[in-house]
Symmetry: C2
Subunit: 130 residues, 2 copies
Amino acid sequence: MNIGDVATRAGLPAKTIRYYEDIGLIRPLRDQNGYRAFREADVHKLVFLGRARALGFSIDECRALLALWEDRDRASADVRRIATDHLAQIEAKIADLQDMRDTLGTLVRKCAGDDRPDCPILKSLAAPDQ
Amino acid sequence: MNIGDVATRAGLPAKTIRYYEDIGLIRPLRDQNGYRAFREADVHKLVFLGRARALGFSIDECRALLALWEDRDRASADVRRIATDHLAQIEAKIADLQDMRDTLGTLVRKCAGDDRPDCPILKSLAAPDQ
DNA sequence: GATAAGGGTTCCAGTCACTGGAAGGTCAAG
DNA sequence: CTTGACCTTCCAGTGACTGGAACCCTTATC
């Protein structure tokens, strides 16, 4: 299978698939003409990667998850640890963003948003504590 | 004032302050010896920038906010628009992360996390719909 | 006067995960 | 034979820094 078909099937840009080969996540074969020749297993890996990336796992975490996926003797505890760590990061990020949203939301509600210069948003940025 | 003192007062790394000069956000003077010479106005700008960055505004948004801050004839509507747009992005990001958290949280709760290979997390990554 | 510590300076490279684009090879259809 | 859609590699750019090398300036101490 050529890269275009794989891209469609895996829902990833061809560029991204080439990049994943570059960094050693996949190892497609090559046809005589130099084209990448993907097997079903490669497509499955790419779907896996796309899904893991969509859940926000870093490339390194994806690499680890892929290795575990291919390891019949894995302990699910190892997978769970990666997922739990990542979940904690997501939750921290959500908390950060919620703080931003709350602060910014309050400021936006206080701002008249008219043609006058007076602006609580700028005031707060200049002197957050007052 | 030298960069070290400014860094302390503004709560930004000296490297970041140099970078902000590089990209034209600030224009400190120079001493005879080549050292940057910061005025109070520079420090205020840097505090402003640090605060705006902490609220997640991009550098370009910071640049626009800074320009509005310095413009006595600004309309608060312009500030409000930037903030509202950014708020929408934050909310979208929060929604994305919450989806990730929900999906991942469910999977983590289903995973035994023991020394056996069976793992709902990997299963879901391989075939999300089943 | 030499030296060391603790500032400061510039410039280059690396981060992360792609993405865009140039320049060129391959293949099937008309 | 040409057109167009594929494919290839390689290089550069993204955002917002961050690390490090190599070097200069100032002050204090021996």
